[in-house]
Subunit: 220 residues, 2 copies
């Protein structure tokens, strides 16, 4: 990167951070917690959102903003479950930012909501750099991706508030060489404050702890 | 994106495409086929490269250029297998481009080589936009990511020459809901010319067909 590239990038990121602070404040005034959910493609973001909402929908008002390059696949799944959803199609952009998220929030009835999940583009790199005004940054790592992802994509792991290790049902498979101890040791060095939950959003294992935490956070 | 953003992006991409053409020509003159290997984080790029080289190293000369945001994890694995490797650390950038790849190639003895695998950053979005001078674009989708990724990240699927569906051993798992027929049908609509291989680089299933194809391509 040349000096001009760096300068433009810093301008964009600092403007974005200011806008993030302002949006976070407005959502807090409305009593809404926005959760920025980030992960690789196929780590189980939508499945985890739906399993979480199914368990907590009597306690909290939920909506979902779905970010994808193309398609309505995920927002359809959410609407089919009877949950308000807005689809953002970035048409190529590899992360969500506030100019995309804010209009989507405008389509939701915030007075009815406690928690808005924003499912970011499936990407372990670029979304980590953008504040979208969220109250909580949650990342999912799925077991089949391997325990070494924390070494290769450290930014996302270092700035998340919560790490959900999903697809723990895959640990049963004899060909699975995921080393949970190595992941947890690296995580506690890199980001000791982050909460870590081990779940399978498909089988339900570990969801109780994550949902208890989320309920406490939403009511805080 | 405003008009200025689009203009800058087009300038960068067209300059990159010209450089890609020139590099491709120089590598062809040296008898080297460069393969741009792209996938999500944890789809099995390094494992597939190593399993492929193990089968074909008596027939072809191989080297690997490893692209990662940080860490030497992958190039160490390749060197441990006795294969020449060069690590590129992008320090944050979400894709490889020619100014990164060309100096890395300069560290290899091209006269000894038939095939150079370039393992791109784990990302289904950004690497698809950049020509790095490769002779072949290969993408890996792993079964645990789900069959719907083709709907959400269509650019990568539409421009690859080869799609490798990896981790087919996960299809055995009762909780696995991957629909291979749906993937193949969508792929044949989106990119009918692409070759598709179903493999498990860990168990070796399907590697024979992929290696036969690669051997033919390297000698063409």
């Amino acid at each position: 990167m040349d000096a001009r590239t760096i300068e433009i990038k810093q301008d964009i990121l600092s403007e974005n951070a200011r806008d993030g602070e302002a949006l976070r404040f407005r959502l807090a005034e409305r009593g809404v917690k926005m959760i920025n959910l980030m992960a690789s493609p196929g780590a189980g973001k939508t499945t985890t959102i739906l399993a979480t909402i199914k368990r907590l929908r009597d306690e909290l008002g939920f909506a979902v903003v779905e970010g994808d390059i193309e398609s309505q696949v995920d927002s359809k799944k959410v609407k089919d479950a009877g949950v308000p959803a807005v689809q953002i199609n970035t048409g190529g952009a590899c992360h969500l930012d506030i100019p995309m998220v804010e209009p989507a929030l405008g389509l939701l009835d915030l007075d009815e909501l406690d928690v808005v999940f924003v499912e970011n583009i499936g990407n372990l790199v670029c979304p980590a750099e953008f504040d979208i005004g969220e109250a909580l940054k949650v990342m999912i790592l799925s077991v089949p991706e391997g325990d070494d992802k924390i070494l290769k994509y450290p930014l996302m792991f270092s700035m998340c508030d919560v790490l959900i290790v999903n697809k723990c049902d895959f640990l049963e498979l004899s060909t699975c060489d995921f080393n949970m101890d190595a992941l947890l040791a690296n995580m506690s060095r890199l980001n000791p404050k982050a909460k870590v939950f081990q779940i399978s959003s498909l089988t339900g294992v570990g969801l109780d702890d994550w949902c208890d935490y989320l309920l406490g956070f939403a009511r805080s």
